[in-house]
Symmetry: C2
Subunit: 392 residues, 2 copies
């Protein structure tokens, strides 16, 4: 065969639902020389990653580590380790990732009950309390930041009603971790998973997870083996723990990248980072409003890092995204599931959440819309965003 040309990617501005822009320091760390997966240097790196992940998760959970797969493998890890065949599980479905969690739980042999909301809606604590009271599940699964809809689900009250009902709470924080507050211990979350390619701004590859002592007790008390050998925490934790017992070979260089991404987060400080995400979200929102574009999620429930907006009437979804990508190098996300063709998902995640991206995107979008004959006030989007930046 003809050997393909070497890797030489085009320059992109990653404002979709992930991966997000990667800091050059993270890319450089990933290119550091590979060492053995039981090398003293890598064992120290693993320890440092665990410590930094605990800071970012705001937890003292011992069982905190990066699973050797992407965010979805983190979901599967949490579910298969906590669920045994026949267990009752409640999943809150208001988007693609709640649907996925229900699917994963069913495959693990759970007796799954779902409560459902429309895409873009969130659940109240009362709604969760009702189903917990009725079903008496072992586990309740919910999505903190629905990447498919941009909806921001508060967890604190729900955690209380889940625990009052004697269940464990599993939270999908793939998109929220590192972008908004995720207080694992204070909120009482029992199992949490995330992914590296959203607000941690690291290439996709790893899934940070953390399990509460209560969740670990449940794992320890299992009557059956975990369905997945690869994701079995009863073995993986011995590799990440003091035993250093060989399980699988961890992705060395991807963990180098995560290490540097976590260092960047701690250097910035969590509160500063969350404030940055919120500020750029507000500027983007003001700019979009000035271009006549509305959010699909009600005010107060909008995620700052995943801006799901309604595509205006008369605008060609695919053509606009293609023009943004090819002319401006900007990737935004299409709608997923039932909102496909109806929404765009504009990410401002991690390193991508910056003033330069917001301003350039608004300028680019204005040109795309004008080109399609949509009436927009010239410069209005950027001016509105500038107004937010000037005032804050």
């Amino acid at each position: 065969m003809t050997i393909p040309a070497p890797i030489c990617p085009p320059k992109r501005i990653l404002m979709g639902p992930g991966p997000s822009d990667i800091d050059p320091r993270v890319l450089a760390a990933m290119a550091a020389p590979t060492v053995g997966h039981l090398d003293p240097y890598f064992l120290q790196t693993m320890d440092e990653i665990r410590s930094m992940l605990r800071e970012v998760f705001q937890t003292s959970n011992d069982l905190t580590l990066s699973v050797s797969g992407t965010g979805s493998s983190g979901m599967e890890t949490c579910v298969v380790n906590l669920v045994e065949p026949g267990d009752k599980v409640v999943i809150c479905k208001n988007g693609v990732f709640g649907m996925r969690m229900a699917d994963v739980a069913e495959r693990a042999g759970a007796e799954v009950t779902t409560i459902e909301k429309g895409f873009s809606e969130i659940f109240s604590a009362d709604e969760v309390a009702e189903v917990v009271d009725r079903i008496k599940p072992k586990l309740v699964g919910i999505v903190h930041a629905e990447t498919s809809t941009g909806a921001w689900q508060p967890l604190e009250e729900i955690s209380k009603v889940v625990h009052d009902g004697g269940a464990l709470l599993l939270a999908d924080c793939v998109t929220s971790l590192g972008g908004v507050l995720v207080k694992v211990d204070e909120w009482g979350l029992d199992a949490v998973y995330s992914g590296t390619q959203k607000c941690l701004s690291c290439p996709p590859c790893l899934a940070p997870v953390t399990f509460s002592p209560r969740a670990v007790e449940v794992i320890n008390a299992r009557q059956t083996k975990v369905a997945s050998w690869y994701l079995d925490m009863t073995m993986v934790r011995n590799y990440w723990g003091e035993d250093r017992a060989y399980h699988h070979t961890a992705p060395i260089n991807s963990n180098y990248g995560l290490h540097e991404a976590l260092r960047l987060i701690l250097e910035e400080g969590l509160e500063n980072r969350f404030a940055r995400h919120m500020r750029n979200h507000k500027a983007l929102k003001a700019g979009l409003a000035a271009l006549g574009i509305q959010y699909s999620v009600p005010e107060g429930q909008q995620l700052p890092m995943l801006n799901s907006v309604l595509i205006p009437d008369g605008v060609d979804d695919a053509a606009t995204r293609k023009q943004l990508l090819t002319e401006f190098g900007i990737e935004i996300g299409a709608g997923l599931g039932p909102v496909k063709g109806k929404t765009w998902r504009i990410g401002l995640m991690g390193a991508a959440s910056c003033e330069q991206n917001v301003v350039y995107f608004l300028a680019a979008l204005e040109r795309c819309l004008s080109g399609q004959g949509i009436a927009v006030d010239a410069g209005a989007g950027v001016a509105a965003a500038n107004g937010v930046y000037s005032a804050s």
Copy 2:
């Protein structure tokens, strides 16, 4: 917390059971800018990876791709996609990875029968034929290159008897792919998995897999969902296929690295690469013999890339490996499972299979042994290796 220092790994020569030395071109590719996982550029990269993997697997199998996890996730992928609860599966166990395959198959609900051999032994076609005839399994699993023992299992005759018995053949080629002949189509292998960190000389992260049309038929005819959502080929193949249907977010930069590693293999040519692995193996073996060190596997069944040798009497296993690592920067592997403390595993995989590594390792080992009061002929190891290189 105190923020840990940046990643700055020590220089290592990776002569263990993997990861192996990584070509700088691969590390550079991994540090290329991340693009979106549905970006036209990444879709093209995926296509090129598939084409190059087919060359390396020597197959025309359509369902050939890199699973988003390490080698062990490749094993799990093959097993969970082909096995349904209650299926009869035969696993040939002659090392840690056969044992693991049996465990994975049991978790998938298979009715597992094992045939067993001592560590360092291999199976004859007659032995496999007997169990296939007796059990009439759906699937037979066997390890082509047992990383735990260094034994090289011929597959061609076994493939015939497995197919004569109406079963599918699953082969673990984690350590063999890219180092010795793996002829998927000619040998009739139905499902094969590998890992990136052995003879492909790419950091651990991905698991190349390939499924024959017969295996795909079995997947298509499943009555139950695949136990693992993350590894479900009925969905993953639509992401890698023409549909480009979103499943999970592929590890972009790790696939960049695999792309470059595959380019390196095709540039060298498979036959040249296999000859290089064999030449360095022979030189190492001559040098080890001159130092009084014997292989744990019989002549003719020794893997060229994974040299499992008996630790001589009076030699301190851990102290020697530690000295090699700290004084010489050389990593070799300890024995695994029942041969722990009895063998070393000396890898000559991919980029690590080179004259410089062989010679330097023999010189370093001589110094370690001398330091422990073991009588060795000064320079004999390197001289013997040089003899092989001069003659070939």
